[in-house]
């Protein structure tokens, strides 16, 4: 295998990679994840998002509350966890009223809504991955997620993919 010369240009190119671990399923933290991801992709970064645990809610096909998952407990958790449209905010959620207020404010102030950011992430061909372990616990399958999911990964593969760039946990 030919090893590329480590010139400053090559080094800068190698570092233009951002990998995000999306652990939270909170509305505000998902906005942060997708804002960073789409912004970085738009300025030429290779971007990977690894969705795990509550973060998996963001990539479910069913965006509202639905009995997604295997087994009684899996389905029950699936229902309470919900999807992108039922994501709560991390503070002052007011029984789900706050995400509605945020969506209203974002539209009114012409800031991209969470749904628009997710669509932009797809259009920018950001690499979306789901965590194999969290899927196993929650009884979720790849078919429960949007078709843009590039793969189902474990830690070792994620480390390989993210090597040489920056990694952020949200």
């Amino acid at each position: 295998m030919e090893v590329p010369e480590l010139t400053p240009e090559n080094q800068a190119k190698a570092q233009k990679k951002l990998s995000l671990i999306c652990f939270s399923g909170d509305f505000d933290k998902l906005v942060a994840t997708f804002t960073l991801a789409t912004g970085a992709a738009a300025v030429g970064y290779e971007v990977n998002i690894f969705f795990t645990f509550w973060g998996l809610d963001a990539i479910k096909k069913k965006q509202g509350r639905a009995f997604v998952g295997k087994g009684f407990l899996g389905k029950l958790f699936g229902f309470f966890m919900g999807g992108l449209r039922s994501a709560p905010v991390s503070r002052l959620n007011f029984l789900g009223l706050s995400p509605k207020i945020f969506r209203y404010l974002m539209r009114k102030k012409n800031v991209a809504t969470l749904e628009e950011l997710v669509e932009a992430a797809k259009a920018l061909e950001i690499n979306l991955y789901a965590c194999e372990m969290a899927m196993h616990i929650l009884g979720l399958e790849k078919s429960d997620f949007i078709h843009e999911i590039k793969g189902v990964l474990g830690v070792a593969t994620f480390l390989e993919i993210s090597e040489g760039g920056r990694t952020i946990f949200i």
């Binding site: 804002t35 789409t38 912004g39 992709a41 738009a42 300025v43 102030k109 012409n110 950011l117 259009a123």
Partner: protein, 74 residues
Amino acid sequence: MATFKLDITREHCPMTFVKTKIQLSKLNAGDVLEVLLTEGEPLENVPKSSREQGFNVLEISHVEGVVHKVLIQK
């Protein structure tokens, strides 16, 4: 070669960059994108990141007030 227009004067981060990048990806080589944008981060970074991604920034000109025009060739 065709010229396309994009107005991102009402957009905010990250959609300023995102809309420019998505629009540029739809163009054919040689096509030009005329981007209307505002001072501050869009004016500083849209031309810069376009150049870094191998696009040709043909012209940056002042339109009026805080609005500027950037011509980017694919």
